[in-house]
């Protein structure tokens, strides 16, 4: 997958270098810890609008994008099927709990969560199994087809999706009523995201995760070594589906409703854009991208100049598409990649940073560096 040769090189260089006392991964971990601490500590001082419209939304959007990035960074599979999976999770949840239509067989929200995650993960297994023999661009197309098929399925089967979507969903007591008080849902989302982020990092370091990275780089060699390529790819997709399922649950909790329109191609592309903004090779980037997206979504309407019918507050997708286009054209590593290459350039200029690069630090985890360190 030749998305970002230059960004990848930058990453390889940056990774093998010391940044003062900490390794690169150390800095990232520190950044994540500080970021989460700030997000948690300052919640009471942030306006409700910000908490709900920006931060909570960025958390679940980021989680969906993180599942995409996980697959792309560690398994080399760029999937457009994550929205299909999270749509299945959301729709399952919506159909299991009580909603406005009244559901006589309503499950308790927590039971419904389990049901939804099982259903979405199972669907992910099925999709993964079908797509596991395809690679690269074929995989992208096939997962895109899955995503659109799931959208058409739910828009046709109104028994499941209602005519105007399923509304007023019953939520678990833990998150209360996000409309009145967004804080519980915010903290829940934060906890879920942190937890799953740690799980993703952990899985990447397990023998399974390492095998996945081996398959990404050298599928033929791994096959010769006796690894079951198809099984690993299927399981990687299933695991990502499991992550995406949580994003689907958080999304329906956040919106308190779900309609086929919220899992259409537009949403698929939004998640892709978030992942690309964040850079396709670092899980953390997903939330950076999601935050940028949420900010843009909320504030761009205020400062976008109105140019006839072409650009203006109504034309958010045009703006988004242009930004997406610029990022793919200019910096395929996304915001994170742009930041890293800038830091790298500064460092090189200031300290003649060539010297420390000779000390190769493998880093504490078998991270995405394996993409490029050969």
């Amino acid at each position: 997958m030749s998305l970002a040769p230059e960004a990848a090189t930058v990453e390889a260089e940056a990774r093998t270098a010391y940044h003062g006392v900490l390794t690169r991964n150390g800095w990232i971990s520190l950044g994540v810890v500080v970021g989460v601490a700030i997000l948690a500590a300052f919640a009471p001082f942030i306006s409700e609008f910000w908490l709900s419209q920006i931060l909570t939304k960025a958390l679940w959007l980021g989680l969906a994008a993180a599942s995409l990035i996980f697959l792309s960074a560690y398994a080399g599979m760029v999937s457009l099927g994550q929205v299909a999976v999270y749509g299945i999770a959301g729709m399952t949840y919506a159909n299991l709990v009580a909603a406005d239509g009244g559901n006589p067989a309503a499950w308790s929200p927590w039971l419904a969560v389990i049901g939804a995650i099982v259903a979405a993960t199972a669907a992910g297994f099925l999709f993964g199994f079908i797509a596991s023999r395809s690679e690269g661009i074929y995989f992208l197309m096939l997962t895109l087809a899955f995503s659109v098929l799931v959208y058409y399925f739910f828009s046709q089967v109104t028994q499941l999706s209602g005519f105007g979507g399923v509304n007023n969903l019953d939520l678990p007591g833990l998150v209360g009523d996000p409309g009145a008080d967004p804080e519980p849902l915010y903290f829940t989302s934060l906890a879920v995201c942190v937890g799953l982020y740690l799980v993703m990092r952990y899985v990447a370091r397990t023998p399974f995760g390492l095998a996945m990275q081996g398959l990404r780089d050298e599928p033929a060699r791994m096959r010769a070594l006796g690894f079951n390529v198809r099984l690993h790819r299927t399981l990687a997709f299933t695991f990502a589906a499991f992550i995406a399922a949580f994003a689907g649950i958080l999304a329906v909790w956040y919106n308190r409703r779900i309609s086929p329109g919220s899992i259409n191609l537009g949403q698929t592309i939004d998640i892709l854009i978030i992942a690309v903004i964040g850079g396709l090779y670092r899980i953390e980037g997903a939330w950076v991208g999601a935050l940028a997206f949420a900010l843009l979504d909320n504030y761009s309407r205020e400062w976008t100049p109105e140019i006839g019918n072409i650009l203006g507050p109504e034309r958010f997708n045009t703006l988004l598409g242009i930004i997406f286009l610029i990022i793919v054209l200019v910096s395929p590593g996304g915001l994170v990649g742009a930041w890293e290459s800038m830091v790298e350039r500064l460092r090189r200029r200031n300290g003649g940073g060539g010297a420390p690069r000779t000390t190769t630090t493998p880093g504490p985890e078998g991270g995405p560096a394996a993409t490029t360190v050969k």
């Binding site: 690269g136 992208l140 098929l149 399925f153 046709q156 958010f316 988004l320 997406f324 793919v328």
Partner: protein, 376 residues
Amino acid sequence: MSETVHSGPGGGPGAAGAPSAPAQPEPGGGVRWNATRIALVAIAVVVVVWIAIKAADNFSQFITVTLNGLSLSALYFVVASGFTLIFGLMRVVNMAHGTLYLFGGYLALNFQQKLFQDDSGGLNLSLSAGGGGGGGEYNLIEWIIPLAMAVIIIGILGIAIQQLFLRWNQGQDLRQALITIAISVVAADQMLAAYGGIAKDIKAPSSFPESVHIGSSTVGFFRLVIVVGSALVIGLGLWLLFRKTRYGKIVRAGVDDRDMVSALGINVQLVFAGAFFIGALLAGYGGVLGGTMLSLQPGEDTAFLLNSLIVVIIGGMGSLGGAAIGAIALGLVDAYADVYLIFGDHDLTNYSILLTFALLVIVLAVRPLGLFGRPA
């Protein structure tokens, strides 16, 4: 990578010869393979029997449904042939293909209304400005001229996209896919702004008969004669172009070894631009056909991107014959599923999309690269 474009309807050598051989050897696949085969044959028998029962029930309906399905297939083929052509030559997955389809349709509609509406009286102008695309009568010329203009503009647009966005990053297939996705996002939004969200259609020439009668069944004239005829002509034309002309030879050579062809003094970039022109033009032509036969509205771009994707995934990326077979399969499944998915009191027609999915799954289970696909 080699025999991609030129496996015509007859299929490239070997493509049709070994339908059962999986592209990638699977460890211990022997036994499981037979089980899969038995299951597939069983499914096929059930489907055929079910359709036969329904057909015996109401034969003239069966003919109508089949012909409608084939006309859908023809439309899918016209659109997907451009998609598969571009991929076959340049390994570019043009995610903006559905956008070119829809834009082609809108352009033709625009030209038809702007240039020829006055002929049918001033009243229509205000009517169609309201959105519905007014009544209005148009003769054959007034359908063909907008078509030609739209199609050529779309072709040139295709060249522009290729030259501006895709030429300098050849080989980075994922990046190119993302670039075309970004283009389609912007274009879809702009078309929504310019043409609104209401379904519109291009008026077929009023000299065309409404429908044709075959036995006791009735099928729309435009669908059956124009759309199916176009698909046949295009299929044959592309096949001749790539098999029999010098241009076709250069293109096929360029697919195999671009640098060598270039070293022989042939301007490969020009050849590729030409191929992109044809591919985009076919999408635009499909848009005009689809806009006349069905309708134009936001979301059709997605629908036809999906259709093209499924057609080429079934048929094998880059294969023209595969696109034809994939289109026929998809069109027939669509048509039959809309009518025959009724079991007694249970109307399951709104689950019809599952059959499309099943089609995809079944084909990929047997041939991971599609019916005529081959490893890159």
